[in-house]
């Protein structure tokens, strides 16, 4: 079939990306591991695993359980700490000419600000993703993203520490009663874009040991099982905040799935769990997406963003 070329570029805040598919935080480590399977610069950006201020061991094993069309993980933010990360991982990615979105996570509002301050001076980064689905040690371990006030304060702190340049993408949890409300709060506090959705809280019980299967008891549900939840979340938030770009994610495993999220309102799409089954998934999905857009007569990806919200013509 003859199809027109499609302009696949996209923007998140003031960051421009030549391609619309991204890795998902925590599903690409820091990029090196995937470089054997595709050229990292051929996708929108590598979103790195959420990094904290200090090095961290994470949660005990077992850390994963496969579930129907999905999986639970409880990694617990194992990582080298921001200093080692900035010293080794970021320079390597930039050397590959990959675009980089750094994901940060903290246990206190102050930790997020500290991380932001350290990022401020690093050049070459495209954006910072603020993963606020972390337990707030100062408030009985309640996840920041489940508390409108705490969410807002995290983003406010990051905005102040990081200055006006680097776009802030606030990554939200779907485990809330009123997602558009949380979204509005973080946008008011200075987020330029939103990442939707983080994993859904779940649990598996091992029927042999008759105890919770994961070392950390609960885990985050990801993969195709949660895609309908992601589509709904993106649709709801895009309806409430049509000007705010969304980095969509949740169960995307094919170009068809990526298109679904884009029609719902995502400007870019992260591929997470699908990379575990197929390490070249991001690039394969990007190619499929291009074909699907072309078949539907789109000449630029941007025209498809949020298309499902338009009134159907009669």
């Amino acid at each position: 079939m003859m199809t027109m070329p499609v302009d696949m570029s996209t923007t998140l805040g003031n960051a421009w990306f030549p391609h619309p598919i991204f890795t998902a935080s925590g599903c690409a480590s820091s990029g090196k591991e995937l470089a054997q399977f595709f050229d990292l610069k051929d996708i929108g950006a590598v979103v790195t695993k959420s990094v904290m201020n200090k090095p961290r061991h994470g949660r005990p094993t077992p850390r994963m359980a496969e579930t129907p069309s999905g999986m639970l993980n409880s990694i617990g933010l194992q990582g080298p700490g921001i200093d080692a990360f900035l010293a080794t991982d970021v320079p390597w990615l930039l050397e590959q000419k990959a675009r980089v979105i750094v994901s940060i996570a903290g246990e206190t509002i102050e930790e997020y600000s500290t991380l932001a301050r350290k990022l401020r001076s690093v050049s070459g980064i495209s954006a910072v993703e603020v993963n606020i689905s972390c337990p707030n040690v100062e408030n009985r371990g309640m996840v920041f993203a489940c508390d409108p006030d705490a969410s807002r304060r995290v983003i406010d702190g990051v905005r102040k520490a990081i200055g006006g340049e680097l776009p802030i993408i606030a990554k939200l949890s779907p485990d809330v009663t009123n997602l558009p409300d949380i979204a509005k709060g973080v946008v008011d506090a200075g987020a330029d874009a939103l990442a939707l959705i983080n994993t859904v809280l779940g649990m598996v019980i091992n029927i042999d040991t008759m105890r919770t299967h994961l070392g950390g008891k609960t885990g985050g549900l990801s993969g195709p099982a949660i895609r309908p939840i992601a589509v709904r979340a993106i649709y709801q938030v895009h309806a409430a905040l049509p000007q705010i770009p969304i980095l969509g994610m949740g169960g995307v495993a094919s170009g068809r799935d990526a298109l679904e999220l884009i029609l719902a309102g995502a400007s870019g799409v992260s591929v997470g769990t699908a990379s575990f089954g197929n390490p070249s998934a991001p690039i394969a999905i990007q190619n499929e997406l291009r074909d699907l857009l072309a078949q539907r007569g789109f000449t630029t990806l941007k025209d498809a963003v949020g298309y499902a919200h338009r009134e159907a013509s009669i």
Binding site: C27, S29, E33, H57, G58, T61, E66, G70, S275
Partner: protein, 281 residues
Amino acid sequence: MATINKSSAQLMATLVSNKRVGAYHQLLLNVGDLVKSCKPGNFVAIKVGGDSSKMILRRAFAISRVSDISQYGGTMELIVAPHGSGSKWLCSQVEGTEIDIIAPLGTAFGIPTQPINALLIGGGYGSAPLFGLADVLKSRGCKVDMLLGASIGSKIYAPMEGKRSVNSLKIYTEDGSMGETGRVTEPLLDIIAQRNIDVVYSCGPMGMLRAITELVADSDVIHQCAVEEAMACGVGICMTCVLPVKNDDGTTSMLRSCIDGPVMDGSRVRWDLVGKVPEAQ
């Protein structure tokens, strides 16, 4: 460019043979030139369940041996226990099926440059990669003894051809249905002493690997073991497969068993901390 997973590739491999061997299935996959980069200890990650499967993660299997001279071209052999739904699916595939694989993955057994005395210990299907290893060690002039153990006889995997490459083979089953009654760890220290063993290579259940490590702890014997942790990705991007491993400075790191393993130095693994988390760094 890539430094990790650097010789691995994703490809569709034709299943050229699927035979039941005791409690296991011996699968032969046509992988072409890929055999050239496979080393004993490496594993393969296999997509299971077909196109509309609810199983989204690959399954890991040790590469039992590769051959470049078979009638099918380059082939890779796997020994698979039908355990849960993924491995059962794999064992039920018929010859001719195209199987989606990524291989070779992970670290390999270290091969000595000197002709040494090696003891290879396998538990259950853990013996699978040891026969390929034995071939290589033999070709380097090593003396190779082998100890295999399992709960019952049907779970001992010891193919005829394999036996040729070892100097001795001793089998232990817990119920005594094959070989001696007992566990492979029982005669271990005697054998090491009698045969002047320099290196123990092991593959099998984590409990066996731990017990071997503890038994050889006070000796000069080197222990290379192939560990088995639940893996979601097999290529180093998910951090689910970690093990606590001692660093030179005495601290402990949670290392990925898919890229820093499966073959690890047994004395480095903090077996006491498996399933726990080390003190904060």
